[in-house]
């Protein structure tokens, strides 16, 4: 799905194609709980979430990281990804629509590999930040 992409084609400051996910359904929390094995009831049981002081269930942070991973590997082939890290900055709730954006912050040849570094951010429809992160990928060269 990710198109062939070469080191020479990428410049510092380039934007990663934006990806929009959602609105998120509670059903997706149930699917993600089963797939990931994270059965913390905070994500699937409104009564439990209310008992600990929230309005209702919140999304698995790893689901939102999964959205960011989807956005990255729709652009850069999965096999080129070397490193991917995020900081969870805020809670995401059902009904939120999450937009993932990113940009290239550095490119360099390191130990014979053509490395690009990018920063990524996931925000909801009010531009509240849910995730900030970065990734590194080793891209093929045209040469």
């Amino acid at each position: 799905m990710a198109q062939d992409i070469y080191y020479e084609d990428i410049n510092v400051g380039d934007a990663m194609p934006e990806m929009v996910k959602g609105p998120i359904l509670k059903l997706q929390h149930v699917m993600y709980a089963g797939a990931s094995g994270d059965f913390n009831p905070l994500h699937t049981d409104d009564d439990f979430a209310k008992a600990v002081g929230l309005d209702g269930v919140i999304c698995h942070g790893m689901l939102i990281m999964g959205f960011v991973g989807q956005a990255i590997t729709a652009w850069i082939p999965k096999k080129c990804l070397k490193k991917f890290g995020v900081r969870f900055a805020g809670m995401t709730k059902p009904g939120n629509t999450v937009t993932v954006t990113g940009k290239v912050t550095d490119k360099r040849v390191d130990a014979g590999e053509n490395i690009i570094s990018c920063e990524v951010v996931a925000q909801d429809e009010n531009r509240d930040v849910k995730i900030t992160g970065n990734f590194e990928a080793a891209l093929p060269s045209k040469g």
């Binding site: 799905m1 993600y32 797939a35 990931s36 094995g37 999964g66 989807q70 999965k78 900081r87 969870f88």
Partner: protein, 149 residues
């Protein structure tokens, strides 16, 4: 406070056989339509041996083997007060259906911090190094857990 003397402690390994269905299930739960996770032929066409595990797949063995809850209990952290602060992966090679991966969890770091509002928090970094059935390193996962007080 999480028990600082546990820094460096290693936990029993997680052993996990990677199934094709689980790779697909995780992609579907995320809503990722990338055919490399769903269709072996599409993956081969893009240069993979088979459907690769996606970029956040390592959460699956970690959660299904209950390794993180085990670490949290051992550190006597209040489960209800734990936030997942950060998650990071380094990828050394692809993981495919049929691979048997072994993860070795370790407490990399424990630190007490004070937030701007003056609240104390324990920051616990857990590292898991994954190897495959050939003993080759496939990935390193780093999770930062934050215990609010």
């Amino acid at each position: 406070m999480a028990d600082k003397s546990k820094e460096g402690k290693e936990y029993p390994p997680i052993v996990w056989e990677v199934e094709r269905g689980k790779i697909r299930e995780l992609a579907k739960a995320i809503g990722d339509p990338n055919p490399i996770y769903l269709d072996r032929e599409a993956a081969v066409k893009e240069g993979y041996k088979d459907c690769p595990a996606s970029s956040t797949f390592f959460t699956v063995p970690m959660m299904w083997c209950s390794s993180m809850p085990g670490v949290i209990n051992d550190l006597k952290i209040n489960f209800a007060m734990v936030l997942h602060g950060e998650e990071e992966y380094e990828y050394y090679q692809q993981v495919y259906p049929g691979d048997v991966i072994t993860g070795k969890p370790k407490i990399a770091h424990i630190e007490e911090k004070t937030s701007k509002s003056g609240k104390k928090m324990d920051m616990v970094t857990v590292e898991i190094i994954y190897t495959n059935q050939k003993g080759e390193k496939v990935s390193k996962a780093r999770s930062l857990l934050v215990e609010r007080k």
